[in-house]
Symmetry: C2
Subunit: 203 residues, 2 copies
DNA sequence: CAAAAGTTTAACCGAATGGTTAATTTTATT
DNA sequence: AATAAAATTAACCATTCGGTTAAACTTTTG
């Protein structure tokens, strides 16, 4: 029982690394087995197929990102306060899991049918996000926030937070920076993003 | 000679579609041949290997994106004017080639060594981008633009323009929109982005 | 402790994949 | 028209890949 849990977890850990690093198509079952230091047959023993193992990993990745939403956007605090928490949560989480955003968005773009339903389920289970959209509209009516279409509002927020991590390889070269300096830049960026949002979205 | 050029171009067209749709690892040479309605051996006859064909496609994609930069950022116009052109150029180009951003950024994240040199070559060949960075610093000193670190400035601009196209599949579901409506949203977004940048970056 | 159940491994399998070859067809040259 | 060169194809090849199997090993159970 002890050994079972151990192997199972070891597989997940290895699969997470390989899938996120290479994507579904680029990942090799043998590479996952090597990474976990076990026999390839174990992968199928515990998770049946590459697809099923992948779905477990993707589910975890989506969960991690969703959590940040729920954590930051729940409650009755003003929109701008929630956004500040969202910026901090996301930046920290992505700094600790730098490849997750491109992983999710890439697989999503290439395999629309599957995730969208999973994602939608998660959103429908929890109405935090829908409530937040309503809250934005309310604060716009109250004259607290500028009357910008809500989808544009959300796109702007998420763009500023997530894109820099996706474009990291490009920017590292363009500005000839080192990896750890970029992470630090992302830390400083928290405040910058908040300032941009405040001047652009607040009235 | 006529037929040769034709086949060669047909292969590129098919390869562009398949590679951009599935990525390098997910693309199949047979799928490219089928798409081009030719024998698979022709792919190797004209482009030797999958890798070499892929590099041709990637080069074209990077070229297309670089062009928009050069086109928008050259000359002596004020930074904000150039940004307006950049927003329009990029939005139009991506609307016509929706999968290119995620394609480039994804392959870049997974295969750092190769592109970064190609990209850097392109940047060093042309000093438009470096000049633009200097221009931002100048206008900041002149009190035209807010004194924001230039890398943050650039990240903010590119985030607002590119990310919404990458996250399109997610947002289509979240806001339950149709494909063409999203394209229209991106059209309207041009102005929104400019407004955000103006209020956030301009003094 | 012995049987049963669960775990792990080595060897194997069929299909798919990138790539090659040799022969055929088409085009260009004289 | 005859010949050389280029383009195209069908068949094939070696390797890789996801997945399976049967046997060995380990742990649990009665």
């Amino acid at each position: 029982m002890d050994k079972k849990k151990n192997t199972e977890a070891e597989i997940l850990k290895a699969a997470k690394k390989i899938f996120i690093e290479h994507g579904f198509a680029g990942a090799r079952m043998q590479a996952i087995a090597d990474e976990a230091k076990i026999n390839k047959a174990m992968l199928h023993y515990y998770y049946r197929s590459k697809k099923m193992l992948f779905e477990k990993i993707m589910e975890g990745a989506v969960d991690l990102m969703s959590k940040q939403f729920i954590n930051a956007l729940s409650g009755t605090a003003p929109v701008m306060d929630k956004l500040k928490i969202l910026i901090n949560n996301y930046t920290d989480t992505i700094n600790h899991n730098p490849h997750i955003p491109i992983f999710i968005l890439n697989e999503m773009a290439r395999n629309q049918l599957y995730f969208q339903t999973k994602m939608q389920q998660r959103l429908e289970q929890n109405n935090v996000f829908q409530d937040f959209l309503l809250q934005i509209a309310e604060e716009q009516e109250q004259g607290i926030l500028r009357p910008i279409p809500v989808p544009q509002f959300v796109l702007t927020v998420m763009s500023l937070i997530i894109f820099p991590h996706i474009a990291k390889p490009v920017f590292l070269k363009i500005f000839t920076l080192e990896d750890d300096i970029y992470t630090q830049m992302m830390e400083e960026r928290k405040e910058h993003i908040y300032n941009v949002l405040e001047s652009a979205l607040r009235l």
